[in-house]
Amino acid sequence: MSAEKKSPASTVDQPLVVAHDLAKTFDVSATWLSRVIEGKPRQLLKAVDGVSFEIERGKTLALVGESGCGKSTVARLLVGLYEPTRGGFQFDGKDAYAAFKSNDAKAMRKRIQMIFQDPYASLNPRWTVEAIVGEPLHEHGLIQNEQDLKERVAELLQSVGLSALDMVKFPHQFSGGQRQRISIARALASAPEFLVCDEPTSALDVSVQAQVLNIMKDLQRKRGLTYLFISHNLAVVRHVSDNVGVMYLGQLVELADKHSLFRNPQHPYTRMLLDAIPKMKDTGRARTPVQGEVPNPLNPPTGCSFHPRCPLANERCKTERPVLKSLHGIKVACHASEEGRHE
């Protein structure tokens, strides 16, 4: 425990993660030769286009959106798998990207970890569970010897509801839900403070999902973990999050605490998403599904990128891109909201 942590309120109150204007553009142009011969233009994909948010210690921020909205890219930006084209984030008051590039990168990486979506591809099929869960322990020099390693791995496996005897087995001997638990155990090995979870339960059956979500919530409570939870499933998001950010084509369109977002969504896209969820109660009611599909991110609409599908779009929406502004305690990027035009 550093002296910094024991100092009064200021550091403890400060959010653990502060992302500012994060942006990531990918160059998806054809190869140089094709471009020259066929005269094709350079193509740039703005996967994330200026995203800012804060996550307080011990809390969960969920990022929701459909395919192509950039939420997975944000996840990878926050663990240092990608370098941002613009912007950055502060982790515990320090510039994270500077830390990733410095000689002390390992210290930063020890504190941030990630859980992935596909339980079948996130564990090396040729390694034993012991090797997989023990790798972070080796990397960060957290153990002294073999015996130490076995004990630590056993502890970690037990904390996710698996048995210590499982450490000699290989991934293919486990089910999807169990593999995801092994992933969680691996992520926790270096005792991180911040976990980025990229759709961790999307590939799991409903009852298995319930088990994994319960474990994640328990661990958060016991260890004071902070989560960034990416998902496309609003019901799951509602269950796990404290705050929710809705993304569309690389931008945050609404950022609010869970209750406000679900009870009183402001942005037309959020409303459409909530409406689109098949509900188990009052079935058979006529819903009006919104028309259109998510536009091609290579060629986004001008102004507000949602305007082609928005029932409230006006001239301003077609030309001026809305900025995330505070409104009654939540943040929303919508001209209609700002102008008080929504019903």
């Binding site: 459909e66 395919s67 089910s175 999807g176 839900g177 169990q178 059956d205 409903v206 009852s207 298995v208 999902q209 319930a210 088990q211 979500l213 319960n214 919530k217 496309h232 499933n233 609003l234 019901a235 799951v236 509602r238 269950h239 679900f262 459409m272 998403l273 409406d275 689109a276 969820i277 098949p278 509900k279 188990m280 109660k281 079935t283 058979g284 819903r287 599904p289 919104v290 028309q291 599909e293 998510v294």
Partner: protein, 332 residues
Amino acid sequence: MSLLQVKNLVVEFSSRHGVLRALDGISFDIAPGEILGVVGESGAGKSLTGASIIGLLEPPGRIASGEIVLQGQRIDQLNNDQMRSIRGRKIGAIFQDPLTSLNPLYSVGKQLVETIQAHLPLSDAEARQRAIGLLEDTGIPAAAERIDHFPHQFSGGMRQRVVIALALAAEPQLIVADEPTTALDVSIQAQIISLLKNICKQRGAAVMLITHDMGVIAETCDRVAVMYAGRIVEVGPVQQVIHKPAHPYTAGLMASIPDMAVDRERLNQIDGAMPRLNAIPKGCAFNPRCPQVLERCRHERPELIQGVQLQNQLPTQVACWLTSTPQTEGRL
């Protein structure tokens, strides 16, 4: 008369470890024009049931016993040629991935016309008109032009609409849809579900909707069958199964789905996991995980029997000793 009757269907796979029973005595009916949902977790056997009905069961899987009867005619023992004339004309199919359901080398129109002409005696021009009509019905804008486009020129949701058009091309009485919306975004899902429901009701086609998503079932289906470890554990009207499940597995499943309306600290979980095919417990397959297990459940397998029937509703069937044991009758 039922459109489709499945009686005690048993599907087995022979492997070097022995014979595995993937489906162990499945029985259900689908009435004409009805939408039946088949729900279950991975490994429960719902896709296999669909594949057996369409006749696309891949070896080493095979139908070991039981009957599949379509409009009074047995179809489980037909050879490939006979099955081909049934597929398309009487049974249409929609699969999960629209990208691989369409041939990327042929235009959408060509594929539609080919299917239409395979089953209906129409000329080229008539078939093409019909195809355009189908595309319009499934909500594809500018159908007369887009009919000559190729699959890669359509977006995911649009492609699935084309697949639906293809399934309906020869006016089948039954559509088997295997996870038709799982690969699509939530907003597109809503569009496709409502399209499927409306277009099938309009044409009087029955639908067997296979999915793991209870929300989709709740929105579209009339009745739902819940599968577990290769068996059907409960069948009944959708509202009843969802809100008043009779089988402990169904109850556990419903309770573990995160609910938009209620905030809970922990989700209800069913401990353990669905058994593997080579380790199905004796008696009731669910007994090791059942919170209300009786001694009888460990030895005798419960049959699917009539359960509670509410007023004006279709009957339910449950395979559970709790339902049929006299002293528990009062509970329901």
